[in-house]
């Protein structure tokens, strides 16, 4: 009896210790820094400096505009694609359904590199255009805010599609039939009934798109855009020109966390964003389109996907191409770049797999018990646990990276170095960043296991641990594995927080890509990128096989 109450309490204590140490403390630390001066006195001077500096203000404004513009463009595309996929039948529908999720798994850093190879100043398209039309100057497709919007949109619109497809799948057809029975049809039905029913899913997706764009610094930097908040935070911290600028980097990241949380709360106020349920899907009757309309739909989707696949083409060509300058395609092909990143310096790949593997292990150790506490127990503080878990989704990776640098640079007892000088900080930060996916995946699986299944085991003689082993675990392990694999894949791709914490000799793949690109070795960066894409493709294939089409639940 005692141990049955003690075990959850102990588990809860350990979970909170982990969250407080590796999430709440570092975030608290940057907020503390943001409202104090060098001597530790409470002050608003830092914010005053920020809000009186025209450059910072412009950066803030541009970041908001960028986020909003990306949400709008990816919503238009994402919703349109979702409706086409769910409601209509046309040639190649299921193939398109599969291809649509591909852009989102492209590692963000790799995506933007791929675009520069094809659409950059000396990219394939510009070379062709200049030859064909005797242009004197290349067309600027990418460099500027418009380029960031383009790259982010083509990367992120599937996030909206997945969430809306998921939500549409759960709209009870009788609700729409009821609308028709009282005379609503066509646009009116869509606007008054169908869309409102899908808003919870849509808003969750839109929020993720916004926060992602808002806090991405790598894409703007590669495209030469610096007057945005995230790149400013990165440059201020990494260049470390003087203490004041370093502190401004911290202030900016605190501000980004604050804004992200505000947006999260606003979204949550608007809809219950923590709706975890991915349970009941209703059967949908798809409308068969006329041949002409089918052709239009296929043309639209093909164009969209072609654009989304530009980075893959670019990166793949760059990884095997030599002498690719001022020519539409490389002049010679080689495997030397792969040899260099796989055989000569395998550390990037080995480190990444080590970090991501450990991160997934931590995620499962911490996340599955959290899901169990949320779904099955009555311990106090479950609401707070849930809130913290949702908060992680909103906190920008950039801010987490900066917070870790700030919070863990002090010397550890017994060492003359801080935690940030040990490679273990990488799996830790990855685990914190990916925790919500594990929790949500496990929670959704747990919801499918009716408590009476566990009670039935108890009634025929199984103890609590035995019930978990024989009944609960066999029914949820697939969900945990799918969540784990997804976390593994996205951990490999993580660019924001990891770029801050890079340690000499312990770099991950994304560190390598960034370093190679900055150093002008775009081909090696591309080779690493292709490896990331390959891992992602394999992971998604396995996830799809195991989880069917329920991938939306993991993103939601």
């Amino acid at each position: 009896m005692r141990s049955r109450r003690l075990a959850p309490a102990l588990g809860l204590g350990l979970i909170w210790a982990f969250l407080i140490l590796f999430l709440i403390y570092p975030l608290g630390r940057i907020f503390y820094d943001a409202v104090t001066d060098e001597a530790g006195r409470w002050t608003l001077a830092n914010f005053h400096d920020f809000f009186t500096d025209r450059f910072y203000l412009r950066s803030l404004w541009h970041s908001l505009i960028l986020g909003l513009a990306t949400v709008i463009t990816s919503s238009v595309l994402g919703i349109a694609v979702a409706f086409l996929l769910v409601r209509y039948d046309f040639a190649g529908r299921s193939l398109f359904g599969f291809l649509t999720i591909i852009p989102i798994i492209s590692p963000p850093l790799v995506g933007v590199l791929g675009f520069t190879f094809i659409l950059g100043r000396a990219g394939t398209v510009n070379v062709l255009l200049m030859d064909a039309f005797d242009l004197l100057r290349p067309v600027n497709f990418l460099y500027g805010i418009h380029g960031v919007v383009l790259v982010e949109t083509l990367h992120l619109f599937p996030m909206i599609t997945l969430n809306v497809v998921d939500a549409l799948g759960k709209v009870d057809p009788s609700l729409e039939e009821a609308a028709e029975s009282v005379g609503a049809r066509g646009f009116s039905k869509l606007w008054r009934v169908t869309l409102p029913l899908t808003t919870p899913g849509y808003v969750a997706g839109a929020l993720l798109v916004f926060i992602w764009t808002f806090s991405d610094f790598a894409t703007p930097l590669v495209l030469g855009v610096q007057d945005l908040l995230a790149p400013q935070a990165y440059l201020n911290i990494v260049q470390f020109v003087d203490r004041r600028i370093f502190r401004m980097g911290i202030v900016i990241s605190a501000l980004m966390v604050l804004l992200a949380v505000l947006f999260l709360l606003a979204a949550r106020h608007y809809v219950a964003i923590k709706d975890y349920s991915s349970l009941s899907y209703s059967r949908i009757a798809r409308r068969r389109l006329s041949p002409l309309r089918q052709a239009l739909v296929v043309a639209f989707l093909s164009t969209l996907l072609l654009l989304s696949f530009i980075p893959y083409i670019g990166v793949t060509l760059a990884s095997v191409g030599r002498g690719w300058a001022l020519t539409p395609l490389p002049v010679a092909y080689t495997l030397q770049y792969y040899e260099r990143v796989i055989v000569e310096t395998p550390k990037f790949i080995l480190n990444s797999f080590l970090y991501s593997g450990l991160a997934v292990a931590i995620c499962i150790l911490v996340g599955v018990p959290i899901a169990w506490l949320l779904g099955r127990s009555t311990v106090p503080g479950r609401g707070a646990l849930d809130a913290v878990n949702t908060l992680i989704l909103a906190v920008p990776g950039t801010a987490i990276g900066i917070a870790y640098i700030r919070a863990f640079h002090f010397d550890l007892p017994g060492f003359d170095r801080g935690l940030t000088s040990f490679w273990i900080v990488m799996p830790l930060v990855l685990a914190v960043r990916r925790l919500p996916y594990t929790v949500r995946g496990s929670f959704a699986s747990l919801l499918l296991v009716h408590p009476s299944l566990e009670e039935a085991a108890s009634s025929v003689g199984a103890s609590g641990a035995r019930t978990f082993r024989d009944v609960t675990l066999p029914l949820i392990w697939k969900g945990i594995l799918v969540g784990g694999l997804f976390s593994f894949m996205t951990s490999l791709q993580e660019a924001s927080a990891v770029l801050f914490l890079a340690l000499g000799g312990w770099e991950s793949i994304t560190n390598g890509i960034f370093a190679f690109y900055i150093a002008g070795s775009a081909n090696e960066a591309a080779a690493l990128g292709v490896i990331l894409i390959a891992v992602a493709a394999i992971s998604v294939a396995i996830i799809n096989r195991m989880a069917g089409t329920r991938m939306g639940g993991v993103f939601g």
Partner: protein, 358 residues
């Protein structure tokens, strides 16, 4: 095994789901907890199973106080409303799981599996998965899973509510037959009064965490003690009134003043002042000649419902109260049109005066 429930209380926050309940279930009896949703019947069953622990009171199985014992140490078999079959195990694995936990030898497990499936007529289904079975079959597997352990007490939580009407009656009969064969002490929870009446030895009617009345099905139907029981079990015409005297000549009939005029009634318990009269529709005659000793009320037919084996008239009386009257043999009855004035009659012996607990 005798089940003794003494002063048991269970609270969830501010809600008292089970409030000072005393019950004794006799050995080998099929005892039903009946009541509307939220009355505390399922909570009481789960207290017996050990999924909840009582906040006060004791629960005894035989001589053993089981308070604080987990379900797997209570010697119970439980059948759940949603069957709760483990979807990743075959029928055989579902049924044998508890046996294997007890480390019984292989041939004993096989023997009990066969015997258990034979009892529920599912021999040959061993290798199927629950998803491949119909609802009725699933519930029979659940029953076999509970019975192979030879439990002292069988607990059934609304086991039929997810089944179609026809299947429900069939499985109901099967449960009753098995229970009689095995003479196993059984506690059965349902909100369906017909189910409760048809298969129970005794029934406890519950409301708001309290037990209102315990009795054999016939007692509950013919001699409800409160207005709630009269209304919940079967159909009753309820007429509020006030006792104003006793007729010493006619077997001590109570004289009751009502909106329908003075009526005669009988009472099991002492009733005085405000009361409610309960008359079953099947005891109300339509247009019968005056026999002298009965209650007679005039009204007009307001609704005729043909139910196949009965025909029910709703008759609106002059005061606006609607009384129901059943014709038991509509085959030989020419229905009266709506609006036809009729006289309803019912003897004092079927008119129960009850305390008004509504």
């Amino acid at each position: 095994m005798i089940v003794g429930i003494r002063g048991v209380v269970k609270r969830f926050g501010a809600v008292t789901a089970v409030n000072a309940v005393d019950l004794t279930v006799a050995d080998g009896e099929l005892f039903t907890l009946l009541g509307p949703s939220g009355c505390g019947k399922t909570t009481l069953l789960r207290l017996l199973a050990g999924f909840y622990q009582p906040d006060a009171g004791t629960i005894r199985f035989g001589d053993r106080v089981v308070n604080g014992l987990p379900p797997y140490e209570r010697g119970i078999g439980m059948v759940f409303q949603n069957y709760a079959l483990w979807p990743h195990m075959t029928v055989a694995d579902n049924v044998c799981y508890g046996l294997r936990l007890r480390r019984l030898p292989g041939e004993e497990v096989a023997r009990r599996l066969h015997e258990g499936l034979r009892k529920v007529n599912l021999v040959g289904f061993e290798a199927r998965y629950p998803g491949q079975l119909s609802g009725g079959q699933q519930q029979r597997v659940a029953l076999a899973r509970a019975l192979v352990l030879n439990p002292d007490i069988l607990l059934l939580d609304e086991p039929l509510s997810n089944l179609d009407a026809k299947i429900r009656i069939q499985v109901r009969a099967e449960i009753r037959r098995l229970q009689q064969d095995l003479r196993i002490t059984t506690v059965y929870v349902t909100h369906d009064q017909e189910e409760a009446l048809s298969l129970s030895d005794r029934v406890a009617v519950m409301r708001d965490g309290h037990v209102l009345q315990v009795g054999r099905p016939r007692e509950l139907y013919e001699r409800p003690r409160t207005r709630f029981v009269a209304d919940f079990v079967g159909t009753n015409n309820l007429v509020p009134g006030e006792v104003h005297g006793v007729d010493a000549h006619a077997r001590g009939d109570l004289l009751v003043r009502t909106a329908l005029g003075p009526l005669r009634a009988i009472a099991d318990a002492a009733v005085s002042g405000r009361c409610v009269l309960a008359v079953r529709p099947e005891n109300v005659a339509v247009g019968a000649p005056d026999a002298g000793d009965g209650n007679r009320v005039a009204g007009t037919v307001s609704l005729v419902s043909y139910l196949g084996n009965t025909l029910r008239y709703d008759v609106e009386t002059e005061c606006g109260l609607v009384l129901k009257a059943d014709i038991r043999d509509p085959w030989h009855h020419e229905p009266l049109p709506v609006g036809r004035p009729v006289t309803l009659s019912f003897p004092a012996s079927v008119t129960l005066a009850l305390s008004d607990d509504a």
